[in-house]
Chain length 281, copies 2
Amino acid sequence: MFDIIIVGGGAAGLSAAITARQKGKSVCVIRPKDNDSWIYKAEKISNYLGLPDISGEEMLAIFEKQAVEMGTEFKIGIVKQILPTGESFFASTGPDFVEGKKVIITTGVSQPRQLPGESRYVGRGVSYCGTCDGMLYKGKTIALIAENEESHEEMQFLSGVVGKIYLAPTKLHFSDLPENVEVMTQPMKEIDGTDLVDKVLFGDDWLQVDGVFIFRNTTAYSTLIPGLDTDGNFIKVNKKMETNIDGIYAAGDCTGKPLQIAKAAGEGNVAALSAMEGSFG
Amino acid sequence: MFDIIIVGGGAAGLSAAITARQKGKSVCVIRPKDNDSWIYKAEKISNYLGLPDISGEEMLAIFEKQAVEMGTEFKIGIVKQILPTGESFFASTGPDFVEGKKVIITTGVSQPRQLPGESRYVGRGVSYCGTCDGMLYKGKTIALIAENEESHEEMQFLSGVVGKIYLAPTKLHFSDLPENVEVMTQPMKEIDGTDLVDKVLFGDDWLQVDGVFIFRNTTAYSTLIPGLDTDGNFIKVNKKMETNIDGIYAAGDCTGKPLQIAKAAGEGNVAALSAMEGSFG
Protein backbone atom coordinates (compact mmCIF):
# COMPACT_ATOMS: atom_id res chain seq x y z
CA MET A 1 0.00 0.00 0.00
CA PHE A 2 1.51 3.27 -1.16
CA ASP A 3 0.72 6.64 0.38
CA ILE A 4 0.32 8.15 -3.07
CA ILE A 5 -0.18 6.67 -6.53
CA ILE A 6 0.70 9.00 -9.39
CA VAL A 7 -0.74 8.17 -12.80
CA GLY A 8 1.64 9.58 -15.43
CA GLY A 9 5.36 10.38 -15.37
CA GLY A 10 5.66 13.85 -16.91
CA ALA A 11 6.59 17.11 -15.18
CA ALA A 12 3.41 17.21 -13.07
CA GLY A 13 3.75 13.60 -11.92
CA LEU A 14 7.45 13.83 -11.10
CA SER A 15 7.05 17.15 -9.28
CA ALA A 16 4.28 15.57 -7.18
CA ALA A 17 6.53 12.57 -6.56
CA ILE A 18 9.52 14.55 -5.23
CA THR A 19 7.24 16.75 -3.12
CA ALA A 20 5.76 13.70 -1.43
CA ARG A 21 9.11 11.89 -1.11
CA GLN A 22 10.63 14.97 0.50
CA LYS A 23 8.02 14.53 3.24
CA GLY A 24 8.83 10.82 3.54
CA LYS A 25 5.68 9.49 1.89
CA SER A 26 5.78 6.34 -0.25
CA VAL A 27 5.07 7.06 -3.89
CA CYS A 28 4.44 4.90 -6.95
CA VAL A 29 4.50 6.52 -10.39
CA ILE A 30 2.76 4.44 -13.06
CA ARG A 31 3.59 5.39 -16.63
CA PRO A 32 3.58 3.87 -20.13
CA LYS A 33 6.72 2.14 -21.35
CA ASP A 34 7.18 4.33 -24.39
CA ASN A 35 7.41 7.97 -23.55
CA ASP A 36 5.16 9.70 -26.03
CA SER A 37 4.82 12.91 -24.03
CA TRP A 38 5.22 16.05 -26.12
CA ILE A 39 8.02 17.19 -23.79
CA TYR A 40 10.04 14.20 -24.87
CA LYS A 41 9.91 15.35 -28.49
CA ALA A 42 10.68 19.04 -27.85
CA GLU A 43 14.01 20.06 -29.36
CA LYS A 44 14.56 23.02 -27.09
CA ILE A 45 12.70 24.29 -24.06
CA SER A 46 13.65 27.81 -22.97
CA ASN A 47 11.07 28.87 -20.43
CA TYR A 48 11.50 26.48 -17.51
CA LEU A 49 13.16 28.27 -14.63
CA GLY A 50 16.41 26.60 -13.58
CA LEU A 51 17.16 24.64 -16.76
CA PRO A 52 17.98 27.05 -19.58
CA ASP A 53 17.91 25.92 -23.23
CA ILE A 54 17.60 22.20 -22.86
CA SER A 55 16.06 19.49 -25.01
CA GLY A 56 12.89 17.85 -23.77
CA GLU A 57 14.60 14.48 -23.64
CA GLU A 58 17.41 15.80 -21.42
CA MET A 59 14.94 17.64 -19.21
CA LEU A 60 12.82 14.54 -18.60
CA ALA A 61 15.98 12.54 -17.86
CA ILE A 62 17.00 15.08 -15.19
CA PHE A 63 13.50 15.06 -13.70
CA GLU A 64 13.36 11.24 -13.61
CA LYS A 65 16.83 10.94 -12.10
CA GLN A 66 15.82 13.31 -9.31
CA ALA A 67 12.63 11.35 -8.62
CA VAL A 68 14.48 8.01 -8.63
CA GLU A 69 17.23 9.29 -6.34
CA MET A 70 14.62 10.51 -3.89
CA GLY A 71 13.14 7.03 -3.68
CA THR A 72 10.14 7.17 -5.98
CA GLU A 73 9.03 3.74 -7.18
CA PHE A 74 8.10 3.36 -10.84
CA LYS A 75 5.77 0.89 -12.46
CA ILE A 76 5.49 0.57 -16.23
CA GLY A 77 1.92 0.18 -17.40
CA ILE A 78 -1.19 1.95 -18.54
CA VAL A 79 -3.74 2.50 -15.83
CA LYS A 80 -7.05 1.19 -17.12
CA GLN A 81 -9.20 1.89 -14.10
CA ILE A 82 -9.04 3.36 -10.61
CA LEU A 83 -11.29 1.59 -8.15
CA PRO A 84 -12.14 3.15 -4.79
CA THR A 85 -12.51 0.74 -1.86
CA GLY A 86 -13.60 3.43 0.57
CA GLU A 87 -10.29 3.34 2.46
CA SER A 88 -7.93 3.27 -0.50
CA PHE A 89 -7.76 3.04 -4.27
CA PHE A 90 -6.72 0.24 -6.62
CA ALA A 91 -5.07 1.42 -9.83
CA SER A 92 -5.49 -1.43 -12.30
CA THR A 93 -3.07 -1.78 -15.20
CA GLY A 94 -5.00 -4.79 -16.49
CA PRO A 95 -3.70 -8.02 -15.00
CA ASP A 96 -1.83 -6.15 -12.27
CA PHE A 97 -2.71 -3.42 -9.77
CA VAL A 98 -1.23 -1.00 -7.26
CA GLU A 99 -2.97 0.06 -4.05
CA GLY A 100 -2.65 3.54 -2.62
CA LYS A 101 -4.26 5.89 -0.14
CA LYS A 102 -4.47 8.84 -2.52
CA VAL A 103 -4.27 9.18 -6.29
CA ILE A 104 -2.90 12.04 -8.40
CA ILE A 105 -3.85 12.02 -12.09
CA THR A 106 -1.17 13.56 -14.33
CA THR A 107 -1.93 11.93 -17.65
CA GLY A 108 -1.23 14.92 -19.85
CA VAL A 109 -3.43 16.38 -22.48
CA SER A 110 -4.13 13.44 -24.72
CA GLN A 111 -7.54 11.93 -24.35
CA PRO A 112 -8.36 9.12 -26.76
CA ARG A 113 -10.76 9.84 -29.57
CA GLN A 114 -13.26 7.18 -28.63
CA LEU A 115 -15.21 5.37 -31.31
CA PRO A 116 -18.96 5.76 -31.51
CA GLY A 117 -20.40 2.96 -29.37
CA GLU A 118 -17.12 2.37 -27.49
CA SER A 119 -18.05 3.76 -24.09
CA ARG A 120 -21.56 2.23 -24.29
CA TYR A 121 -20.11 -1.28 -24.64
CA VAL A 122 -17.25 -1.14 -22.08
CA GLY A 123 -17.54 -4.45 -20.18
CA ARG A 124 -20.10 -5.71 -22.66
CA GLY A 125 -17.79 -6.63 -25.50
CA VAL A 126 -15.29 -3.76 -25.38
CA SER A 127 -12.16 -4.53 -23.37
CA TYR A 128 -8.85 -2.76 -22.74
CA CYS A 129 -7.02 -5.83 -21.38
CA GLY A 130 -6.37 -8.96 -23.41
CA THR A 131 -4.80 -11.03 -20.65
CA CYS A 132 -7.75 -10.21 -18.34
CA ASP A 133 -10.68 -10.81 -20.67
CA GLY A 134 -9.23 -12.89 -23.51
CA MET A 135 -10.50 -16.26 -22.27
CA LEU A 136 -14.09 -15.01 -22.56
CA TYR A 137 -13.58 -15.02 -26.34
CA LYS A 138 -12.09 -18.51 -26.77
CA GLY A 139 -12.52 -19.57 -30.38
CA LYS A 140 -14.54 -16.45 -31.18
CA THR A 141 -14.01 -13.49 -33.52
CA ILE A 142 -12.68 -10.16 -32.27
CA ALA A 143 -11.64 -6.79 -33.67
CA LEU A 144 -8.46 -5.18 -32.32
CA ILE A 145 -7.04 -1.64 -32.18
CA ALA A 146 -3.27 -1.62 -31.57
CA GLU A 147 -1.83 1.79 -30.69
CA ASN A 148 0.64 1.15 -27.88
CA GLU A 149 3.63 -1.01 -27.05
CA GLU A 150 1.54 -3.41 -24.99
CA SER A 151 -0.32 -4.32 -28.17
CA HIS A 152 2.43 -6.73 -29.28
CA GLU A 153 2.18 -8.92 -26.24
CA GLU A 154 -1.57 -8.59 -25.96
CA MET A 155 -2.17 -9.61 -29.57
CA GLN A 156 0.26 -12.51 -29.22
CA PHE A 157 -1.75 -13.77 -26.29
CA LEU A 158 -5.15 -13.17 -27.88
CA SER A 159 -4.23 -14.83 -31.18
CA GLY A 160 -3.56 -18.05 -29.29
CA VAL A 161 -6.98 -17.93 -27.65
CA VAL A 162 -9.54 -16.52 -30.08
CA GLY A 163 -10.53 -17.90 -33.48
CA LYS A 164 -10.04 -14.80 -35.61
CA ILE A 165 -8.71 -11.25 -35.20
CA TYR A 166 -9.54 -8.28 -37.42
CA LEU A 167 -6.64 -5.87 -36.82
CA ALA A 168 -7.40 -2.21 -37.52
CA PRO A 169 -4.75 -0.32 -39.52
CA THR A 170 -1.91 0.60 -37.14
CA LYS A 171 1.37 2.49 -37.10
CA LEU A 172 3.00 -0.33 -35.15
CA HIS A 173 5.10 -2.88 -36.98
CA PHE A 174 4.30 -6.53 -36.32
CA SER A 175 7.01 -8.84 -37.65
CA ASP A 176 5.41 -12.24 -37.28
CA LEU A 177 1.68 -11.88 -37.71
CA PRO A 178 -0.14 -15.00 -36.52
CA GLU A 179 -2.20 -16.73 -39.24
CA ASN A 180 -5.55 -15.91 -37.68
CA VAL A 181 -4.90 -12.14 -37.80
CA GLU A 182 -6.33 -10.23 -40.75
CA VAL A 183 -4.96 -6.70 -41.21
CA MET A 184 -7.74 -4.43 -42.39
CA THR A 185 -7.22 -1.68 -44.95
CA GLN A 186 -10.02 0.59 -43.75
CA PRO A 187 -10.13 2.21 -40.29
CA MET A 188 -12.50 1.02 -37.58
CA LYS A 189 -15.27 3.60 -37.34
CA GLU A 190 -17.98 2.35 -35.03
CA ILE A 191 -18.96 -0.38 -32.59
CA ASP A 192 -22.54 -1.63 -32.35
CA GLY A 193 -24.67 -4.47 -31.09
CA THR A 194 -27.71 -5.10 -28.93
CA ASP A 195 -27.01 -5.86 -25.27
CA LEU A 196 -23.54 -7.00 -26.23
CA VAL A 197 -21.23 -6.01 -29.07
CA ASP A 198 -22.03 -7.96 -32.25
CA LYS A 199 -20.50 -5.91 -35.07
CA VAL A 200 -17.91 -3.28 -35.99
CA LEU A 201 -17.73 -0.92 -38.94
CA PHE A 202 -14.51 -1.01 -41.01
CA GLY A 203 -14.74 1.64 -43.72
CA ASP A 204 -18.24 1.03 -45.13
CA ASP A 205 -18.52 -2.62 -44.13
CA TRP A 206 -20.07 -3.96 -40.95
CA LEU A 207 -18.30 -7.16 -39.83
CA GLN A 208 -19.69 -9.57 -37.26
CA VAL A 209 -17.53 -9.83 -34.13
CA ASP A 210 -17.99 -11.05 -30.57
CA GLY A 211 -15.69 -8.50 -28.95
CA VAL A 212 -13.39 -5.52 -29.46
CA PHE A 213 -10.01 -5.09 -27.76
CA ILE A 214 -8.48 -1.63 -27.71
CA PHE A 215 -4.85 -0.90 -26.69
CA ARG A 216 -4.00 2.77 -26.35
CA ASN A 217 -1.58 4.77 -24.19
CA THR A 218 -4.42 6.73 -22.65
CA THR A 219 -7.64 5.77 -20.99
CA ALA A 220 -10.73 7.95 -21.29
CA TYR A 221 -11.52 9.65 -17.98
CA SER A 222 -15.03 8.22 -18.03
CA THR A 223 -13.52 4.70 -18.11
CA LEU A 224 -10.61 5.49 -15.78
CA ILE A 225 -12.73 6.95 -12.97
CA PRO A 226 -16.48 6.85 -13.50
CA GLY A 227 -18.06 10.01 -12.07
CA LEU A 228 -14.99 12.25 -12.47
CA ASP A 229 -16.00 15.83 -13.29
CA THR A 230 -14.53 17.03 -16.56
CA ASP A 231 -14.80 20.08 -18.76
CA GLY A 232 -14.28 18.95 -22.33
CA ASN A 233 -10.94 17.16 -22.43
CA PHE A 234 -9.82 18.53 -19.07
CA ILE A 235 -10.34 17.39 -15.48
CA LYS A 236 -12.01 19.94 -13.22
CA VAL A 237 -9.95 20.89 -10.16
CA ASN A 238 -10.05 23.59 -7.51
CA LYS A 239 -7.04 25.67 -6.36
CA LYS A 240 -5.85 22.77 -4.21
CA MET A 241 -5.91 20.48 -7.27
CA GLU A 242 -8.72 18.42 -5.75
CA THR A 243 -11.11 16.75 -8.19
CA ASN A 244 -14.76 16.19 -7.29
CA ILE A 245 -13.81 12.76 -5.93
CA ASP A 246 -12.44 12.66 -2.41
CA GLY A 247 -8.83 11.40 -2.41
CA ILE A 248 -8.28 11.94 -6.13
CA TYR A 249 -6.24 14.93 -7.34
CA ALA A 250 -5.16 16.07 -10.79
CA ALA A 251 -2.27 18.21 -12.05
CA GLY A 252 -0.60 19.32 -15.25
CA ASP A 253 -1.86 19.44 -18.80
CA CYS A 254 -4.87 17.26 -17.94
CA THR A 255 -6.33 20.13 -15.87
CA GLY A 256 -6.27 22.66 -18.72
CA LYS A 257 -4.27 25.31 -20.53
CA PRO A 258 -1.68 26.71 -20.73
CA LEU A 259 0.16 23.46 -21.52
CA GLN A 260 3.45 24.41 -19.89
CA ILE A 261 6.10 22.55 -17.93
CA ALA A 262 6.36 25.16 -15.17
CA LYS A 263 2.59 25.16 -14.69
CA ALA A 264 2.56 21.34 -14.61
CA ALA A 265 5.41 21.17 -12.08
CA GLY A 266 3.73 23.81 -9.91
CA GLU A 267 0.40 22.00 -9.96
CA GLY A 268 2.05 18.65 -9.20
CA ASN A 269 3.72 20.22 -6.19
CA VAL A 270 0.42 21.66 -4.95
CA ALA A 271 -1.48 18.39 -5.61
CA ALA A 272 1.03 16.38 -3.55
CA LEU A 273 0.87 18.86 -0.66
CA SER A 274 -2.95 18.74 -0.74
CA ALA A 275 -2.93 14.92 -0.88
CA MET A 276 -0.69 14.85 2.20
CA GLU A 277 -3.00 17.08 4.21
CA GLY A 278 -5.56 15.48 6.45
CA SER A 279 -5.73 11.72 6.68
CA PHE A 280 -1.99 11.10 6.77
CA GLY A 281 -0.63 14.68 6.68
CA MET B 1 8.01 51.66 -22.43
CA PHE B 2 8.31 47.98 -21.49
CA ASP B 3 5.86 45.30 -22.60
CA ILE B 4 5.79 43.90 -19.08
CA ILE B 5 6.84 45.27 -15.69
CA ILE B 6 7.41 42.64 -13.02
CA VAL B 7 7.36 43.78 -9.42
CA GLY B 8 9.55 41.40 -7.41
CA GLY B 9 12.49 39.18 -8.38
CA GLY B 10 11.75 35.81 -6.76
CA ALA B 11 10.81 32.54 -8.49
CA ALA B 12 7.44 33.84 -9.71
CA GLY B 13 8.89 37.06 -11.11
CA LEU B 14 11.85 35.42 -12.83
CA SER B 15 9.68 32.65 -14.30
CA ALA B 16 7.35 35.30 -15.70
CA ALA B 17 10.38 37.18 -17.05
CA ILE B 18 11.87 34.25 -18.99
CA THR B 19 8.44 33.25 -20.32
CA ALA B 20 7.93 36.74 -21.74
CA ARG B 21 11.52 37.05 -23.00
CA GLN B 22 11.21 33.71 -24.79
CA LYS B 23 8.38 35.31 -26.78
CA GLY B 24 10.51 38.39 -27.47
CA LYS B 25 8.70 40.79 -25.15
CA SER B 26 10.60 43.52 -23.30
CA VAL B 27 10.63 42.96 -19.57
CA CYS B 28 11.72 45.02 -16.57
CA VAL B 29 12.01 43.32 -13.18
CA ILE B 30 11.99 45.78 -10.27
CA ARG B 31 13.27 44.38 -6.99
CA PRO B 32 14.76 45.58 -3.70
CA LYS B 33 18.55 45.80 -3.44
CA ASP B 34 18.84 43.48 -0.49
CA ASN B 35 17.35 40.09 -1.17
CA ASP B 36 15.32 39.28 1.91
CA SER B 37 13.22 36.60 0.23
CA TRP B 38 12.84 33.45 2.34
CA ILE B 39 14.25 31.42 -0.56
CA TYR B 40 17.52 33.29 -0.19
CA LYS B 41 17.84 32.08 3.38
CA ALA B 42 16.86 28.44 2.78
CA GLU B 43 19.78 26.09 3.44
CA LYS B 44 18.49 23.27 1.27
CA ILE B 45 15.56 23.02 -1.10
CA SER B 46 14.70 19.49 -2.19
CA ASN B 47 11.35 19.70 -3.92
CA TYR B 48 11.94 21.87 -6.97
CA LEU B 49 11.94 19.72 -10.09
CA GLY B 50 15.19 20.01 -12.02
CA LEU B 51 17.46 21.33 -9.26
CA PRO B 52 17.95 18.63 -6.62
CA ASP B 53 19.28 19.48 -3.14
CA ILE B 54 20.39 23.03 -3.62
CA SER B 55 20.70 26.01 -1.31
CA GLY B 56 18.26 28.84 -1.78
CA GLU B 57 21.08 31.24 -2.53
CA GLU B 58 22.46 29.03 -5.33
CA MET B 59 18.97 28.48 -6.71
CA LEU B 60 18.22 32.19 -6.92
CA ALA B 61 21.61 32.79 -8.56
CA ILE B 62 20.77 30.20 -11.27
CA PHE B 63 17.33 31.73 -11.79
CA GLU B 64 18.73 35.26 -12.06
CA LYS B 65 21.51 34.23 -14.44
CA GLN B 66 18.96 32.62 -16.73
CA ALA B 67 16.76 35.73 -16.68
CA VAL B 68 19.73 38.02 -17.32
CA GLU B 69 21.05 35.88 -20.18
CA MET B 70 17.63 35.94 -21.80
CA GLY B 71 17.69 39.74 -21.83
CA THR B 72 15.59 40.69 -18.84
CA GLU B 73 16.29 44.21 -17.59
CA PHE B 74 16.57 44.74 -13.86
CA LYS B 75 15.92 47.84 -11.83
CA ILE B 76 16.77 48.05 -8.14
CA GLY B 77 14.08 49.76 -6.11
CA ILE B 78 10.93 49.35 -4.12
CA VAL B 79 7.78 50.01 -6.05
CA LYS B 80 5.73 52.48 -4.03
CA GLN B 81 2.78 52.87 -6.34
CA ILE B 82 1.43 51.65 -9.66
CA LEU B 83 -0.47 54.29 -11.56
CA PRO B 84 -2.73 53.41 -14.48
CA THR B 85 -2.82 55.91 -17.35
CA GLY B 86 -5.47 54.02 -19.27
CA GLU B 87 -3.03 52.88 -21.94
CA SER B 88 -0.16 51.83 -19.72
CA PHE B 89 1.05 51.77 -16.13
CA PHE B 90 3.68 53.77 -14.29
CA ALA B 91 5.50 51.87 -11.55
CA SER B 92 6.91 54.50 -9.23
CA THR B 93 9.92 53.71 -7.06
CA GLY B 94 9.79 57.15 -5.50
CA PRO B 95 11.87 59.64 -7.45
CA ASP B 96 12.04 57.34 -10.47
CA PHE B 97 9.50 55.35 -12.48
CA VAL B 98 9.18 52.67 -15.16
CA GLU B 99 6.40 52.57 -17.75
CA GLY B 100 4.92 49.32 -19.00
CA LYS B 101 1.91 47.97 -20.87
CA LYS B 102 1.17 45.25 -18.34
CA VAL B 103 2.18 44.65 -14.73
CA ILE B 104 2.77 41.37 -12.89
CA ILE B 105 2.90 41.57 -9.09
CA THR B 106 5.21 38.96 -7.51
CA THR B 107 6.04 40.58 -4.21
CA GLY B 108 6.02 37.44 -2.10
CA VAL B 109 4.17 36.83 1.08
CA SER B 110 5.31 39.67 3.26
CA GLN B 111 2.84 42.44 3.70
CA PRO B 112 3.88 45.22 6.06
CA ARG B 113 2.22 45.36 9.43
CA GLN B 114 0.84 48.85 9.02
CA LEU B 115 0.55 51.14 11.99
CA PRO B 116 -2.84 52.27 13.18
CA GLY B 117 -3.54 55.51 11.33
CA GLU B 118 -0.91 54.84 8.63
CA SER B 119 -3.18 54.12 5.67
CA ARG B 120 -5.58 56.92 6.68
CA TYR B 121 -2.81 59.52 6.43
CA VAL B 122 -1.04 58.39 3.23
CA GLY B 123 -0.44 61.62 1.27
CA ARG B 124 -1.55 63.67 4.28
CA GLY B 125 1.60 63.44 6.36
CA VAL B 126 2.60 59.83 5.77
CA SER B 127 5.15 59.36 2.98
CA TYR B 128 7.18 56.45 1.63
CA CYS B 129 9.67 58.60 -0.34
CA GLY B 130 12.04 61.09 1.27
CA THR B 131 13.52 62.49 -1.92
CA CYS B 132 10.00 63.05 -3.32
CA ASP B 133 8.27 64.66 -0.37
CA GLY B 134 11.11 65.82 1.88
CA MET B 135 11.02 69.47 0.79
CA LEU B 136 7.46 69.76 2.09
CA TYR B 137 8.87 69.36 5.60
CA LYS B 138 11.70 71.91 5.43
CA GLY B 139 12.71 72.86 8.97
CA LYS B 140 9.89 70.79 10.43
CA THR B 141 9.78 67.73 12.73
CA ILE B 142 9.26 64.24 11.39
CA ALA B 143 9.20 60.66 12.64
CA LEU B 144 10.98 58.00 10.63
CA ILE B 145 10.78 54.19 10.34
CA ALA B 146 13.92 52.68 8.76
CA GLU B 147 13.59 49.03 7.74
CA ASN B 148 15.29 48.79 4.36
CA GLU B 149 18.57 49.60 2.66
CA GLU B 150 17.16 52.73 1.08
CA SER B 151 16.72 54.16 4.57
CA HIS B 152 20.39 55.18 4.79
CA GLU B 153 20.23 57.44 1.78
CA GLU B 154 16.75 58.67 2.51
CA MET B 155 17.59 59.66 6.08
CA GLN B 156 20.79 61.31 4.95
CA PHE B 157 18.76 63.45 2.57
CA LEU B 158 15.95 64.19 5.02
CA SER B 159 18.29 65.16 7.87
CA GLY B 160 19.67 67.92 5.67
CA VAL B 161 16.21 69.30 5.00
CA VAL B 162 14.02 68.91 8.07
CA GLY B 163 14.59 70.36 11.53
CA LYS B 164 14.34 67.22 13.64
CA ILE B 165 13.97 63.47 13.12
CA TYR B 166 12.62 60.97 15.64
CA LEU B 167 14.04 57.65 14.46
CA ALA B 168 12.08 54.57 15.54
CA PRO B 169 14.17 51.67 16.89
CA THR B 170 15.68 49.82 13.91
CA LYS B 171 17.79 46.76 13.14
CA LEU B 172 19.84 48.80 10.68
CA HIS B 173 23.20 50.17 11.73
CA PHE B 174 23.80 53.87 11.08
CA SER B 175 27.45 54.79 11.50
CA ASP B 176 27.29 58.58 11.37
CA LEU B 177 23.99 59.73 12.78
CA PRO B 178 23.33 63.38 11.95
CA GLU B 179 22.92 65.62 14.99
CA ASN B 180 19.26 66.32 14.41
CA VAL B 181 18.34 62.62 14.59
CA GLU B 182 17.09 61.30 17.93
CA VAL B 183 16.99 57.50 18.22
CA MET B 184 13.93 56.46 20.19
CA THR B 185 13.96 53.60 22.69
CA GLN B 186 10.26 52.74 22.39
CA PRO B 187 8.63 51.50 19.15
CA MET B 188 6.33 53.68 17.11
CA LYS B 189 2.79 52.46 17.72
CA GLU B 190 0.32 54.81 16.13
CA ILE B 191 -0.09 57.82 13.86
CA ASP B 192 -2.79 60.42 14.48
CA GLY B 193 -3.85 63.93 13.65
CA THR B 194 -6.81 65.84 12.32
CA ASP B 195 -6.85 66.44 8.57
CA LEU B 196 -3.11 66.04 8.52
CA VAL B 197 -0.73 64.07 10.74
CA ASP B 198 0.17 65.99 13.90
CA LYS B 199 1.43 63.35 16.34
CA VAL B 200 2.89 59.87 16.70
CA LEU B 201 2.86 57.49 19.65
CA PHE B 202 6.26 56.17 20.81
CA GLY B 203 5.70 53.69 23.65
CA ASP B 204 3.25 55.57 25.86
CA ASP B 205 4.20 59.06 24.76
CA TRP B 206 2.56 61.10 22.02
CA LEU B 207 5.09 63.34 20.28
CA GLN B 208 4.17 66.26 18.04
CA VAL B 209 5.37 65.80 14.44
CA ASP B 210 4.52 67.28 11.04
CA GLY B 211 5.10 64.13 9.04
CA VAL B 212 6.05 60.46 9.11
CA PHE B 213 8.41 58.79 6.64
CA ILE B 214 8.34 55.00 6.39
CA PHE B 215 10.97 52.94 4.52
CA ARG B 216 10.15 49.26 4.19
CA ASN B 217 10.91 46.58 1.58
CA THR B 218 7.22 46.02 0.94
CA THR B 219 4.36 48.29 0.12
CA ALA B 220 0.84 47.53 1.34
CA TYR B 221 -1.38 46.49 -1.57
CA SER B 222 -3.87 49.20 -0.70
CA THR B 223 -1.12 51.80 -1.22
CA LEU B 224 0.52 50.04 -4.17
CA ILE B 225 -2.65 49.72 -6.25
CA PRO B 226 -5.76 51.30 -4.77
CA GLY B 227 -8.78 49.11 -5.56
CA LEU B 228 -6.88 45.83 -5.83
CA ASP B 229 -9.01 42.92 -4.60
CA THR B 230 -7.35 41.05 -1.76
CA ASP B 231 -8.27 38.25 0.61
CA GLY B 232 -6.44 38.88 3.87
CA ASN B 233 -2.75 39.16 3.00
CA PHE B 234 -3.18 37.66 -0.47
CA ILE B 235 -4.09 39.10 -3.85
CA LYS B 236 -7.18 37.55 -5.45
CA VAL B 237 -6.53 36.03 -8.89
CA ASN B 238 -8.38 33.75 -11.26
CA LYS B 239 -6.88 30.70 -13.03
CA LYS B 240 -5.21 32.98 -15.57
CA MET B 241 -3.55 34.95 -12.74
CA GLU B 242 -5.58 38.04 -13.59
CA THR B 243 -6.39 40.38 -10.72
CA ASN B 244 -9.61 42.40 -10.68
CA ILE B 245 -7.74 45.23 -12.43
CA ASP B 246 -7.40 44.95 -16.18
CA GLY B 247 -3.73 44.66 -17.18
CA ILE B 248 -2.50 43.75 -13.70
CA TYR B 249 -1.61 40.13 -12.89
CA ALA B 250 -0.22 38.46 -9.78
CA ALA B 251 1.78 35.28 -9.19
CA GLY B 252 3.63 33.40 -6.47
CA ASP B 253 3.38 33.62 -2.71
CA CYS B 254 1.40 36.87 -2.89
CA THR B 255 -1.59 34.95 -4.34
CA GLY B 256 -1.82 32.45 -1.48
CA LYS B 257 -0.67 29.13 -0.09
CA PRO B 258 1.11 26.79 -0.49
CA LEU B 259 4.23 28.97 -0.37
CA GLN B 260 6.32 26.87 -2.74
CA ILE B 261 8.90 27.62 -5.41
CA ALA B 262 7.36 25.29 -7.99
CA LYS B 263 3.93 26.82 -7.49
CA ALA B 264 5.42 30.32 -7.78
CA ALA B 265 7.35 29.48 -10.96
CA GLY B 266 4.25 27.87 -12.49
CA GLU B 267 2.08 30.86 -11.67
CA GLY B 268 4.68 33.29 -13.02
CA ASN B 269 4.74 31.35 -16.27
CA VAL B 270 0.92 31.44 -16.53
CA ALA B 271 0.75 35.15 -15.60
CA ALA B 272 3.23 36.08 -18.35
CA LEU B 273 1.35 34.04 -20.95
CA SER B 274 -1.92 35.69 -19.90
CA ALA B 275 -0.35 39.14 -19.99
CA MET B 276 0.88 38.48 -23.53
CA GLU B 277 -2.56 37.46 -24.76
CA GLY B 278 -4.75 40.04 -26.39
CA SER B 279 -3.43 43.54 -26.78
CA PHE B 280 0.11 42.61 -27.84
CA GLY B 281 -0.11 38.80 -27.85
